[in-house]
Subunit: 346 residues, 2 copies
């Protein structure tokens, strides 16, 4: 009888699945301040709050070793987890790294991967404290859990933005996605003719954003130094649109994002149009893997960031009823839609 | 040039690989009390100590869905992690569960898996607080991280046993391994003739030990109640021999384990001999997946546990130079050897 119904996962998508599974969860401990529904879980341990985030990276789904050097992969695997800790306004302390390997990987290959992992640990000052190591029947699988500390005063959630707050984002958007398109294109060229050299001239920035993203801990420390606590924060891993929608949903607000404010590098803009015939705005809104921070600040804090070279104000929060909107260059308001990275749809 | 050398992972094995990778690790935080080298990592957060353990479970490597119901798999995945928390003498608080699924899994299948996960969370009183969900090109992959709390006084390591301490183990050994042999045998019979019904009569205990192991949190709470703190502790996941060797290595001691003291259930004993022609001692020493606890106590604490129905004294710790030995029924001393579960050797 139980087997009589079959619902495909891709009818729900990743967020739908998580929401469905989270519904039935019970918490037993008063220490659990936050479970599923933010960038990290939260446990109150005395007056320090522990934040925990975990990510899965599977070969063939999240990375392609044809163009992803193992050292970069190790670095990136750590960075994307630290990015979640940053989004909680916490300081990373420890990570565990589990890997499953098929026997096509040699010890030298594993050491290259760990060189990248250790380099990231050094950069973000985080201690590699454990993990699990096993064999895999197929490709490489990496699972990383990052632990960070903050406290009740400093922690930032997705759910605490207020109407009128200014939406800020760090860095620039869409370049990592375009870097992936460039790498995929060169891979196809190479597969068609293995004597062809990859043509990456002028695309270094894009390729670098894809292969070696950085978690924006620098911004977290800067905001702390200037005494500016965001009212809400999330990291941009699935594209700005998806993250704005998360902030809106959890804070029960709407938002307006201005198309002409989106921070897009010139090379990203040009490559989107000339190489791939994509609208640059779409890359910025739905590209994914930027690992920048999206946060909201109170209007009275605007002065503190308005001259910051690496923070852009992209919009503001409105009431829920107004929904999440993109104010286009053509001065019309269109619904902001998340494309996200639905791995289940492929 | 870097590619010129190729060392196969299986020349090192899992422990060798971990040791090799751990060598180069640097810690940056004074909060990190313990990294790689115990059942869990340790972070001091004020006067509470956080312990973190993580495990990978891969279809085709760690489990076979032909005979492992998804609900049991979910339960077991949690239990084996809680077992590591127990081995640190800590109380489990939170877990994160990441799953990678191929599209052969329906929503109903995932919900069955999570039913088992939630049931284990309820039994062990642990909060499911997050995870990651993604697609997989092949089988099911589960990665669980468990977080527990203890303190500087209560925590137990592998490295703190003393010469003369008594080696104790909980429950019985070898049954989970024999349960796996029974299930594998019935699978082969079924594959040869799908009309055959599996013959599990009288093997319920063995199969149950394989499919639904329990973490021994009950023993942890009991020891705390009786005011008995083990001098060292480890969970028995790779077979008693492997764990005794870990205690010896980390505590820089030797040990004697008495063959005739090994706790083996009658049905395990009989099945080993009659069904599989294996020496029962080998199942107890090298079987794996018992998820019992192995711990050492001071001799003066012996009175406290000597009548305990579920704790067996199996030997004692000696000086390092004497090595780890098995005192056989034939009254000879032979080196204790770990067979373990070297997934890389297959």
């Amino acid at each position: 009888m139980e087997q009589s119904q079959r619902t495909e996962i891709n009818t729900l998508g990743e967020f739908g699945l998580i929401e469905r599974l989270a519904q039935k969860v019970t918490h037993y401990h008063p220490e659990t301040v936050k479970g599923i529904a933010d960038d990290a879980a939260v446990m109150a341990i005395g007056d320090q709050w522990l934040v925990t985030s975990t990510d899965f990276l599977l070969e063939g789904v999240h990375f392609d070793l044809t163009y992803m050097p193992l050292k970069h992969l190790g670095y990136k695997a750590v960075a994307v987890n630290i990015s979640d800790i940053a989004a909680m306004n916490a300081v990373p302390k420890q990570i565990t790294v589990s890997i499953a390997l098929s026997n096509r990987f040699s010890l030298e290959a594993v050491e290259e991967l760990y060189e990248g992992i250790r380099f990231a640990c050094q950069n973000y000052k985080v201690d590699l404290v454990g993990g699990d190591t096993t064999s895999s029947r197929t490709g490489l699988v990496i699972s990383i859990t990052a632990l960070g500390l903050t406290n009740a005063q400093e922690i930032t959630y997705r759910s605490t933005a207020q109407k009128g707050d200014i939406l800020c984002c760090t860095g620039d958007l869409g370049a990592a996605y375009l870097g992936l398109q460039v790498l995929e294109r060169e891979k196809q060229t190479y597969l068609a003719n293995p004597n062809m050299q990859p043509e990456l001239t002028g695309k270094d920035y894009l390729v670098g954003r894809q292969l070696k993203p950085e978690a924006r801990m620098d911004i977290i420390y800067e905001l702390q130094t200037m005494g500016l606590k965001p009212t809400a924060m999330i990291d941009i891993s699935d594209g700005l649109a998806s993250e704005v929608l998360h902030l809106c949903k959890q804070s029960q607000l709407g938002a307006v994002v201005y198309e002409d404010k989106l921070p897009i590098e010139q090379v990203a803009y040009d490559t989107a149009i000339n190489d791939f015939n994509i609208v640059p705005t779409v890359c910025a809104l739905n590209g994914g893997e930027d690992y920048e921070l999206l946060f909201t600040i109170r209007q009275e804090d605007y002065e503190k960031i308005k001259l910051h070279a690496d923070i852009t104000t992209v919009g503001y929060m409105t009431e829920k009823e107004k929904g999440a909107k993109l104010a286009t260059r053509g001065e019309s308001l269109v619904p902001l839609e998340a494309q996200g990275w639905n791995h289940f749809s492929t």
